[in-house]
Symmetry: C2
Protein backbone atom coordinates (compact mmCIF):
# COMPACT_ATOMS: atom_id res chain seq x y z
CA UNK A 1 0.00 0.00 0.00
CA UNK A 2 1.81 3.09 -1.26
CA UNK A 3 1.63 6.17 0.97
CA UNK A 4 0.38 9.19 -0.95
CA UNK A 5 -0.43 11.66 1.79
CA UNK A 6 1.89 13.71 3.98
CA UNK A 7 -0.78 13.34 6.70
CA UNK A 8 -0.26 9.58 6.96
CA UNK A 9 0.39 8.59 10.59
CA UNK A 10 3.53 6.62 9.75
CA UNK A 11 5.03 9.64 8.00
CA UNK A 12 4.19 11.82 10.98
CA UNK A 13 5.79 9.31 13.34
CA UNK A 14 9.06 9.38 11.45
CA UNK A 15 9.05 13.18 11.31
CA UNK A 16 8.64 13.27 15.09
CA UNK A 17 11.80 11.19 15.47
CA UNK A 18 13.81 14.23 14.36
CA UNK A 19 13.13 15.46 17.90
CA UNK A 20 15.36 14.00 20.61
CA UNK A 21 12.49 13.66 23.09
CA UNK A 22 10.53 11.53 20.66
CA UNK A 23 13.60 9.47 19.82
CA UNK A 24 14.17 8.85 23.54
CA UNK A 25 10.53 8.05 24.23
CA UNK A 26 10.27 5.51 21.41
CA UNK A 27 13.90 4.36 21.64
CA UNK A 28 14.03 4.70 17.88
CA UNK A 29 16.06 6.72 15.38
CA UNK A 30 16.19 7.57 11.68
CA UNK A 31 18.65 6.27 9.10
CA UNK A 32 18.50 8.08 5.76
CA UNK A 33 20.39 7.38 2.57
CA UNK A 34 21.72 4.50 0.49
CA UNK A 35 25.28 4.70 1.79
CA UNK A 36 24.20 4.80 5.43
CA UNK A 37 21.74 1.91 5.02
CA UNK A 38 24.37 -0.06 3.12
CA UNK A 39 26.75 0.17 6.09
CA UNK A 40 23.88 -0.52 8.51
CA UNK A 41 23.13 -3.71 6.57
CA UNK A 42 26.76 -4.83 6.66
CA UNK A 43 26.84 -4.19 10.40
CA UNK A 44 23.68 -6.31 10.82
CA UNK A 45 21.64 -3.42 12.19
CA UNK A 46 17.98 -4.53 12.19
CA UNK A 47 15.44 -2.04 10.82
CA UNK A 48 11.84 -1.67 11.92
CA UNK A 49 10.59 0.05 8.77
CA UNK A 50 12.04 1.27 5.55
CA UNK A 51 10.28 3.90 3.42
CA UNK A 52 11.28 4.16 -0.21
CA UNK A 53 10.46 6.40 -3.13
CA UNK A 54 11.70 4.93 -6.44
CA UNK A 55 11.40 8.28 -8.28
CA UNK A 56 14.21 9.59 -6.07
CA UNK A 57 16.63 6.65 -6.42
CA UNK A 58 20.05 7.71 -7.67
CA UNK A 59 21.36 4.25 -8.57
CA UNK A 60 20.32 0.72 -9.57
CA UNK A 61 20.79 -1.23 -6.35
CA UNK A 62 18.23 0.36 -4.05
CA UNK A 63 15.58 -2.38 -4.32
CA UNK A 64 18.18 -5.10 -3.68
CA UNK A 65 19.35 -3.28 -0.57
CA UNK A 66 15.75 -2.86 0.64
CA UNK A 67 15.01 -6.56 0.17
CA UNK A 68 18.20 -7.58 1.95
CA UNK A 69 16.70 -6.31 5.22
CA UNK A 70 14.57 -9.08 6.72
CA UNK A 71 11.78 -8.78 9.28
CA UNK A 72 11.39 -5.16 8.31
CA UNK A 73 8.30 -3.45 6.96
CA UNK A 74 8.91 -2.01 3.48
CA UNK A 75 6.70 0.92 2.57
CA UNK A 76 6.58 2.71 -0.77
CA UNK A 77 5.91 6.45 -0.65
CA UNK A 78 5.05 9.11 -3.17
CA UNK A 79 7.49 11.96 -3.64
CA UNK A 80 5.65 14.45 -1.42
CA UNK A 81 5.37 12.36 1.79
CA UNK A 82 8.96 11.20 1.27
CA UNK A 83 10.23 14.77 1.03
CA UNK A 84 8.41 15.58 4.24
CA UNK A 85 10.44 12.91 6.06
CA UNK A 86 13.81 13.61 4.47
CA UNK A 87 16.30 15.89 6.21
CA UNK A 88 18.66 16.11 3.24
CA UNK A 89 19.21 18.59 0.43
CA UNK A 90 19.44 15.73 -2.06
CA UNK A 91 17.27 12.85 -0.85
CA UNK A 92 17.98 9.50 -2.50
CA UNK A 93 14.67 7.81 -1.83
CA UNK A 94 15.57 5.69 1.22
CA UNK A 95 14.76 6.41 4.86
CA UNK A 96 14.34 3.95 7.70
CA UNK A 97 13.47 3.62 11.37
CA UNK A 98 15.63 1.47 13.64
CA UNK A 99 15.60 0.68 17.35
CA UNK A 100 18.24 2.46 19.40
CA UNK A 101 21.02 0.24 20.59
CA UNK A 102 22.95 1.08 23.74
CA UNK A 103 26.06 -1.01 24.18
CA UNK A 104 26.69 -2.52 27.59
CA UNK A 105 29.64 -1.69 29.81
CA UNK A 106 30.73 -5.34 29.73
CA UNK A 107 31.37 -5.05 26.00
CA UNK A 108 33.65 -2.07 26.62
CA UNK A 109 35.46 -3.92 29.42
CA UNK A 110 36.19 -6.76 27.01
CA UNK A 111 37.70 -4.25 24.54
CA UNK A 112 39.75 -2.65 27.30
CA UNK A 113 41.10 -6.09 28.23
CA UNK A 114 42.44 -6.67 24.71
CA UNK A 115 46.03 -5.98 23.63
CA UNK A 116 46.90 -2.26 23.26
CA UNK A 117 43.34 -1.01 22.81
CA UNK A 118 42.95 2.23 20.90
CA UNK A 119 40.17 4.29 22.46
CA UNK A 120 38.82 7.75 21.67
CA UNK A 121 36.83 9.70 24.25
CA UNK A 122 34.79 12.81 23.45
CA UNK A 123 33.60 14.90 26.38
CA UNK A 124 30.41 16.97 26.16
CA UNK A 125 30.54 17.23 22.39
CA UNK A 126 27.92 19.65 21.02
CA UNK A 127 27.86 19.52 17.24
CA UNK A 128 26.46 16.46 15.47
CA UNK A 129 28.70 17.18 12.45
CA UNK A 130 31.84 16.99 14.58
CA UNK A 131 30.76 13.72 16.20
CA UNK A 132 29.93 12.28 12.78
CA UNK A 133 33.26 13.18 11.21
CA UNK A 134 35.13 11.89 14.28
CA UNK A 135 33.28 8.57 13.77
CA UNK A 136 34.45 8.53 10.17
CA UNK A 137 38.08 8.96 11.30
CA UNK A 138 37.56 6.31 14.02
CA UNK A 139 36.54 3.83 11.33
CA UNK A 140 39.51 4.79 9.16
CA UNK A 141 42.01 4.34 11.99
CA UNK A 142 40.39 1.18 13.42
CA UNK A 143 39.63 2.71 16.80
CA UNK A 144 38.44 -0.06 19.10
CA UNK A 145 35.82 2.05 20.90
CA UNK A 146 34.50 5.59 20.96
CA UNK A 147 33.34 6.66 24.42
CA UNK A 148 30.90 9.56 24.38
CA UNK A 149 30.81 11.22 27.81
CA UNK A 150 28.15 13.65 29.02
CA UNK A 151 27.16 14.56 25.45
CA UNK A 152 25.32 17.75 24.59
CA UNK A 153 24.26 16.19 21.33
CA UNK A 154 22.33 12.95 21.01
CA UNK A 155 24.39 10.23 19.35
CA UNK A 156 21.21 9.24 17.47
CA UNK A 157 20.78 12.71 15.98
CA UNK A 158 20.21 12.23 12.21
CA UNK A 159 23.08 14.64 11.47
CA UNK A 160 25.54 12.46 13.40
CA UNK A 161 24.62 9.51 11.20
CA UNK A 162 24.68 11.60 8.03
CA UNK A 163 28.06 13.18 8.68
CA UNK A 164 29.47 9.80 9.71
CA UNK A 165 28.45 8.50 6.23
CA UNK A 166 27.63 5.22 7.99
CA UNK A 167 30.67 4.94 10.31
CA UNK A 168 28.08 5.23 13.09
CA UNK A 169 27.30 1.54 12.47
CA UNK A 170 30.91 0.43 12.23
CA UNK A 171 32.51 1.92 15.34
CA UNK A 172 31.56 0.54 18.77
CA UNK A 173 30.09 3.56 20.60
CA UNK A 174 29.62 3.67 24.37
CA UNK A 175 27.77 6.41 26.24
CA UNK A 176 28.60 7.03 29.88
CA UNK A 177 29.44 9.66 32.45
CA UNK A 178 33.00 10.94 32.59
CA UNK A 179 33.74 9.59 36.05
CA UNK A 180 32.70 6.09 34.99
CA UNK A 181 34.83 6.24 31.83
CA UNK A 182 37.83 7.40 33.86
CA UNK A 183 37.37 4.60 36.35
CA UNK A 184 37.18 1.95 33.62
CA UNK A 185 40.23 3.30 31.75
CA UNK A 186 42.31 3.45 34.96
CA UNK A 187 41.24 -0.02 36.04
CA UNK A 188 42.44 -1.36 32.71
CA UNK A 189 45.69 0.63 32.80
CA UNK A 190 44.92 2.55 29.62
CA UNK A 191 46.94 5.78 29.25
CA UNK A 192 44.67 8.82 29.19
CA UNK A 193 46.01 11.33 26.68
CA UNK A 194 44.90 14.97 26.79
CA UNK A 195 45.78 17.64 24.26
CA UNK A 196 46.60 20.97 25.89
CA UNK A 197 48.81 23.97 25.12
CA UNK A 198 50.14 23.80 28.70
CA UNK A 199 52.86 21.22 28.20
CA UNK A 200 56.27 21.01 26.55
CA UNK A 201 55.64 17.59 24.99
CA UNK A 202 54.63 17.39 21.34
CA UNK A 203 51.95 14.92 20.28
CA UNK A 204 54.40 12.94 18.15
CA UNK A 205 57.03 12.64 20.88
CA UNK A 206 55.11 10.22 23.11
CA UNK A 207 54.81 6.49 22.65
CA UNK A 208 51.28 5.68 21.49
CA UNK A 209 51.86 2.00 20.76
CA UNK A 210 50.46 0.86 24.10
CA UNK A 211 46.81 1.02 25.14
CA UNK A 212 45.76 4.64 24.88
CA UNK A 213 42.62 6.74 25.16
CA UNK A 214 42.71 10.04 23.27
CA UNK A 215 40.41 12.46 25.07
CA UNK A 216 38.87 15.47 23.31
CA UNK A 217 37.03 18.31 25.01
CA UNK A 218 34.12 20.49 24.00
CA UNK A 219 34.15 22.78 20.97
CA UNK A 220 33.89 25.87 23.19
CA UNK A 221 35.93 25.15 26.28
CA UNK A 222 38.21 22.22 25.59
CA UNK A 223 38.75 19.49 28.16
CA UNK A 224 37.32 19.77 31.68
CA UNK A 225 39.50 19.93 34.80
CA UNK A 226 38.24 16.46 35.70
CA UNK A 227 39.74 14.83 32.60
CA UNK A 228 42.80 17.09 32.58
CA UNK A 229 43.52 16.07 36.17
CA UNK A 230 43.26 12.38 35.30
CA UNK A 231 45.39 12.53 32.13
CA UNK A 232 48.73 10.79 32.47
CA UNK A 233 49.91 11.89 29.01
CA UNK A 234 49.65 15.58 28.14
CA UNK A 235 50.67 16.62 24.68
CA UNK A 236 50.44 19.68 22.50
CA UNK A 237 50.18 20.18 18.78
CA UNK A 238 52.42 22.72 17.09
CA UNK A 239 50.28 25.86 16.80
CA UNK A 240 52.28 28.07 14.48
CA UNK A 241 49.67 30.77 13.90
CA UNK A 242 47.47 33.04 15.96
CA UNK A 243 44.36 30.98 16.74
CA UNK A 244 44.91 28.84 19.83
CA UNK A 245 42.99 25.70 18.91
CA UNK A 246 41.85 23.44 16.09
CA UNK A 247 38.39 22.22 15.22
CA UNK A 248 37.77 19.27 17.57
CA UNK A 249 37.30 16.71 14.79
CA UNK A 250 40.52 17.87 13.12
CA UNK A 251 42.46 17.66 16.40
CA UNK A 252 40.98 14.20 16.98
CA UNK A 253 41.88 13.00 13.48
CA UNK A 254 45.48 14.24 13.66
CA UNK A 255 45.97 12.43 16.98
CA UNK A 256 44.32 9.25 15.66
CA UNK A 257 46.57 9.20 12.59
CA UNK A 258 49.61 9.71 14.81
CA UNK A 259 48.63 6.53 16.68
CA UNK A 260 48.29 4.68 13.35
CA UNK A 261 51.60 6.10 12.10
CA UNK A 262 53.49 4.92 15.16
CA UNK A 263 51.90 1.49 15.23
CA UNK A 264 52.41 1.03 11.49
CA UNK A 265 56.10 1.96 11.69
CA UNK A 266 56.54 -0.23 14.78
CA UNK A 267 55.14 -3.24 12.94
CA UNK A 268 57.72 -2.72 10.21
CA UNK A 269 60.63 -3.09 12.64
CA UNK B 1 21.44 57.39 17.38
CA UNK B 2 20.47 53.95 18.70
CA UNK B 3 18.53 51.71 16.33
CA UNK B 4 15.33 50.44 17.93
CA UNK B 5 13.40 49.06 14.98
CA UNK B 6 13.94 45.87 13.02
CA UNK B 7 12.63 47.82 10.01
CA UNK B 8 15.58 50.19 9.98
CA UNK B 9 17.18 50.29 6.51
CA UNK B 10 20.69 49.63 7.82
CA UNK B 11 19.49 46.51 9.61
CA UNK B 12 17.77 45.34 6.44
CA UNK B 13 20.92 45.97 4.41
CA UNK B 14 23.00 43.76 6.69
CA UNK B 15 20.38 41.01 6.66
CA UNK B 16 20.50 41.04 2.85
CA UNK B 17 24.24 40.38 2.98
CA UNK B 18 23.48 36.85 4.17
CA UNK B 19 22.59 36.24 0.52
CA UNK B 20 25.53 35.65 -1.82
CA UNK B 21 24.00 37.74 -4.61
CA UNK B 22 23.74 40.75 -2.35
CA UNK B 23 27.24 40.20 -1.03
CA UNK B 24 28.54 40.09 -4.61
CA UNK B 25 26.56 43.10 -5.73
CA UNK B 26 27.74 45.29 -2.83
CA UNK B 27 31.17 43.63 -2.56
CA UNK B 28 30.59 43.48 1.18
CA UNK B 29 30.36 40.76 3.81
CA UNK B 30 29.41 40.24 7.44
CA UNK B 31 31.76 39.65 10.37
CA UNK B 32 30.01 38.58 13.57
CA UNK B 33 31.45 37.99 17.01
CA UNK B 34 34.10 39.28 19.36
CA UNK B 35 36.71 36.65 18.52
CA UNK B 36 36.31 37.12 14.77
CA UNK B 37 36.45 40.93 15.01
CA UNK B 38 39.46 40.67 17.32
CA UNK B 39 41.38 38.74 14.64
CA UNK B 40 40.09 41.08 11.93
CA UNK B 41 41.48 44.00 13.93
CA UNK B 42 44.87 42.36 14.33
CA UNK B 43 44.95 41.65 10.60
CA UNK B 44 44.16 45.33 9.89
CA UNK B 45 40.89 44.54 8.14
CA UNK B 46 39.00 47.82 7.76
CA UNK B 47 35.30 47.80 8.66
CA UNK B 48 32.61 49.94 7.12
CA UNK B 49 30.14 49.68 9.98
CA UNK B 50 29.94 47.98 13.30
CA UNK B 51 26.63 47.36 15.06
CA UNK B 52 26.72 46.66 18.79
CA UNK B 53 24.23 45.73 21.47
CA UNK B 54 25.73 46.13 24.98
CA UNK B 55 23.00 43.99 26.60
CA UNK B 56 24.41 41.00 24.71
CA UNK B 57 28.12 41.51 25.49
CA UNK B 58 29.71 38.46 27.13
CA UNK B 59 32.91 40.16 28.34
CA UNK B 60 34.44 43.50 29.36
CA UNK B 61 36.50 44.45 26.31
CA UNK B 62 33.86 44.90 23.64
CA UNK B 63 33.78 48.72 23.71
CA UNK B 64 37.58 48.92 23.53
CA UNK B 65 37.57 46.64 20.50
CA UNK B 66 34.83 48.70 18.83
CA UNK B 67 36.75 51.95 19.38
CA UNK B 68 39.98 50.44 18.06
CA UNK B 69 38.43 50.36 14.57
CA UNK B 70 38.97 53.76 12.95
CA UNK B 71 37.07 55.31 10.03
CA UNK B 72 34.21 52.98 10.80
CA UNK B 73 30.64 53.88 11.66
CA UNK B 74 29.66 52.60 15.12
CA UNK B 75 25.95 52.01 15.61
CA UNK B 76 24.25 50.96 18.82
CA UNK B 77 21.23 48.66 18.45
CA UNK B 78 18.51 47.44 20.71
CA UNK B 79 18.24 43.72 21.34
CA UNK B 80 15.50 43.05 18.80
CA UNK B 81 17.11 44.58 15.68
CA UNK B 82 20.44 43.02 16.69
CA UNK B 83 18.88 39.56 16.93
CA UNK B 84 17.42 40.06 13.48
CA UNK B 85 20.94 40.52 12.04
CA UNK B 86 22.70 37.80 14.02
CA UNK B 87 23.16 34.36 12.50
CA UNK B 88 24.34 32.73 15.72
CA UNK B 89 22.72 30.69 18.44
CA UNK B 90 24.50 32.73 21.08
CA UNK B 91 25.06 36.27 19.75
CA UNK B 92 27.64 38.31 21.65
CA UNK B 93 26.47 41.78 20.64
CA UNK B 94 28.94 42.56 17.83
CA UNK B 95 28.32 42.39 14.09
CA UNK B 96 30.05 44.34 11.33
CA UNK B 97 30.11 44.99 7.61
CA UNK B 98 33.42 44.99 5.72
CA UNK B 99 34.38 45.39 2.08
CA UNK B 100 35.34 42.20 0.28
CA UNK B 101 39.00 41.85 -0.45
CA UNK B 102 40.20 39.77 -3.37
CA UNK B 103 43.92 39.15 -3.32
CA UNK B 104 45.82 39.66 -6.56
CA UNK B 105 47.67 36.94 -8.43
CA UNK B 106 50.93 38.86 -8.03
CA UNK B 107 50.72 38.40 -4.28
CA UNK B 108 50.42 34.63 -4.77
CA UNK B 109 53.33 34.62 -7.21
CA UNK B 110 55.49 36.31 -4.60
CA UNK B 111 54.56 33.58 -2.08
CA UNK B 112 55.30 30.85 -4.65
CA UNK B 113 58.74 32.41 -5.22
CA UNK B 114 59.66 32.11 -1.55
CA UNK B 115 61.66 29.21 -0.08
CA UNK B 116 59.71 25.93 0.21
CA UNK B 117 56.23 27.45 0.16
CA UNK B 118 53.51 25.45 1.86
CA UNK B 119 50.28 25.76 -0.13
CA UNK B 120 46.85 24.21 0.32
CA UNK B 121 44.39 24.00 -2.58
CA UNK B 122 40.70 23.16 -2.18
CA UNK B 123 38.77 22.30 -5.32
CA UNK B 124 35.03 22.96 -5.59
CA UNK B 125 34.49 22.89 -1.85
CA UNK B 126 30.81 22.95 -0.93
CA UNK B 127 30.38 23.27 2.81
CA UNK B 128 31.23 26.55 4.53
CA UNK B 129 31.98 24.67 7.76
CA UNK B 130 34.63 22.55 6.05
CA UNK B 131 36.29 25.59 4.47
CA UNK B 132 36.26 27.38 7.83
CA UNK B 133 37.84 24.53 9.75
CA UNK B 134 40.46 24.05 7.00
CA UNK B 135 41.33 27.75 7.43
CA UNK B 136 41.75 27.16 11.16
CA UNK B 137 44.21 24.33 10.45
CA UNK B 138 45.98 26.49 7.82
CA UNK B 139 46.60 29.13 10.48
CA UNK B 140 47.83 26.51 12.96
CA UNK B 141 50.28 25.00 10.47
CA UNK B 142 51.46 28.34 9.01
CA UNK B 143 50.27 27.56 5.50
CA UNK B 144 51.58 30.30 3.19
CA UNK B 145 48.48 30.45 0.99
CA UNK B 146 45.11 28.76 0.59
CA UNK B 147 43.98 28.59 -3.02
CA UNK B 148 40.23 28.14 -3.42
CA UNK B 149 39.46 26.83 -6.91
CA UNK B 150 36.02 26.79 -8.56
CA UNK B 151 34.26 26.97 -5.19
CA UNK B 152 30.65 25.94 -4.72
CA UNK B 153 30.56 27.96 -1.54
CA UNK B 154 31.33 31.66 -1.30
CA UNK B 155 34.46 32.33 0.74
CA UNK B 156 32.62 35.31 2.25
CA UNK B 157 29.75 33.13 3.50
CA UNK B 158 29.21 34.06 7.19
CA UNK B 159 29.55 30.40 8.18
CA UNK B 160 33.05 30.23 6.67
CA UNK B 161 34.12 33.10 8.88
CA UNK B 162 32.35 31.70 11.92
CA UNK B 163 33.79 28.21 11.62
CA UNK B 164 37.25 29.67 10.94
CA UNK B 165 36.96 31.48 14.33
CA UNK B 166 38.83 34.35 12.64
CA UNK B 167 41.50 32.39 10.73
CA UNK B 168 39.77 33.78 7.63
CA UNK B 169 41.66 37.03 8.32
CA UNK B 170 44.99 35.40 9.06
CA UNK B 171 45.50 33.06 6.10
CA UNK B 172 46.17 34.55 2.64
CA UNK B 173 43.27 33.25 0.51
CA UNK B 174 43.32 33.31 -3.30
CA UNK B 175 40.34 32.48 -5.51
CA UNK B 176 40.97 31.27 -9.05
CA UNK B 177 40.09 28.66 -11.60
CA UNK B 178 41.79 25.28 -11.37
CA UNK B 179 43.69 25.58 -14.65
CA UNK B 180 45.20 28.90 -13.55
CA UNK B 181 46.23 27.52 -10.17
CA UNK B 182 47.84 24.51 -11.86
CA UNK B 183 49.74 26.76 -14.26
CA UNK B 184 51.07 28.95 -11.44
CA UNK B 185 52.11 25.99 -9.28
CA UNK B 186 53.88 24.30 -12.21
CA UNK B 187 55.66 27.50 -13.26
CA UNK B 188 57.02 27.83 -9.75
CA UNK B 189 58.01 24.15 -9.51
CA UNK B 190 55.74 23.44 -6.56
CA UNK B 191 54.96 19.74 -6.10
CA UNK B 192 51.27 19.06 -6.48
CA UNK B 193 50.20 16.44 -3.94
CA UNK B 194 46.93 14.55 -4.34
CA UNK B 195 45.44 12.11 -1.87
CA UNK B 196 43.95 9.05 -3.53
CA UNK B 197 43.40 5.40 -2.65
CA UNK B 198 44.92 4.44 -6.05
CA UNK B 199 48.59 4.49 -5.09
CA UNK B 200 50.99 2.40 -3.01
CA UNK B 201 52.69 5.39 -1.38
CA UNK B 202 51.65 6.40 2.12
CA UNK B 203 51.28 10.09 2.97
CA UNK B 204 54.11 9.97 5.47
CA UNK B 205 56.55 8.27 3.11
CA UNK B 206 57.09 11.23 0.77
CA UNK B 207 59.37 14.18 1.38
CA UNK B 208 57.23 17.22 2.15
CA UNK B 209 60.06 19.55 3.10
CA UNK B 210 60.24 21.16 -0.32
CA UNK B 211 57.63 23.50 -1.81
CA UNK B 212 54.37 21.59 -1.84
CA UNK B 213 50.70 22.17 -2.62
CA UNK B 214 48.29 19.81 -0.90
CA UNK B 215 45.20 19.51 -3.07
CA UNK B 216 41.83 18.45 -1.67
CA UNK B 217 38.76 17.55 -3.72
CA UNK B 218 35.05 17.98 -3.15
CA UNK B 219 33.15 16.43 -0.27
CA UNK B 220 31.11 14.26 -2.63
CA UNK B 221 33.45 13.24 -5.41
CA UNK B 222 37.02 13.85 -4.34
CA UNK B 223 39.58 15.36 -6.67
CA UNK B 224 38.78 15.94 -10.36
CA UNK B 225 40.62 14.18 -13.18
CA UNK B 226 42.20 17.53 -14.06
CA UNK B 227 44.00 17.85 -10.74
CA UNK B 228 44.67 14.12 -10.44
CA UNK B 229 46.35 14.20 -13.86
CA UNK B 230 48.56 17.11 -12.86
CA UNK B 231 49.59 15.71 -9.46
CA UNK B 232 53.24 14.68 -9.30
CA UNK B 233 52.91 13.26 -5.81
CA UNK B 234 50.10 10.79 -5.14
CA UNK B 235 49.71 9.50 -1.63
CA UNK B 236 47.19 7.52 0.36
CA UNK B 237 46.21 7.54 3.98
CA UNK B 238 45.91 4.23 5.80
CA UNK B 239 42.18 3.41 5.69
CA UNK B 240 41.84 0.53 8.12
CA UNK B 241 38.05 0.37 8.23
CA UNK B 242 35.17 0.12 5.81
CA UNK B 243 34.43 3.71 4.77
CA UNK B 244 36.66 4.74 1.89
CA UNK B 245 37.29 8.39 2.72
CA UNK B 246 37.67 10.94 5.48
CA UNK B 247 35.90 14.23 5.98
CA UNK B 248 37.73 16.71 3.72
CA UNK B 249 38.82 19.02 6.53
CA UNK B 250 40.12 16.06 8.53
CA UNK B 251 42.08 14.74 5.53
CA UNK B 252 43.45 18.26 4.94
CA UNK B 253 44.48 18.67 8.58
CA UNK B 254 46.24 15.31 8.78
CA UNK B 255 48.24 16.15 5.63
CA UNK B 256 49.07 19.65 6.89
CA UNK B 257 50.33 18.30 10.19
CA UNK B 258 52.44 15.75 8.35
CA UNK B 259 54.15 18.66 6.54
CA UNK B 260 54.75 20.39 9.89
CA UNK B 261 56.03 17.17 11.48
CA UNK B 262 58.57 16.59 8.70
CA UNK B 263 59.77 20.17 8.64
CA UNK B 264 60.00 20.36 12.43
CA UNK B 265 62.03 17.14 12.64
CA UNK B 266 64.24 18.29 9.73
CA UNK B 267 65.03 21.53 11.55
CA UNK B 268 66.18 19.51 14.58
CA UNK B 269 68.83 17.65 12.56
Amino acid sequence: MKILSTKNEQIKHLVHLKDKRDRDRHQEYIIEGYRELFHAKNANIPLKKIFYCPELFLGQNEMDLIHSFQNCEKIECADEPFMKMSYRDRPDGLIAIASQMHRKREELEKILDSKAPFIVVVESIEKPGNLGSILRSCDATAVDALIVCDPKTDIHNPNVIRSSVGAFFLVPIFEMESHEAIRLLKEHHISVLATTPHTDTFYDDVDLRQGVAIVLGTEQLGLSDLWMGEANLKVKMPMLGTIDSLNVSNAASIMMYEVVRQRRHASRL
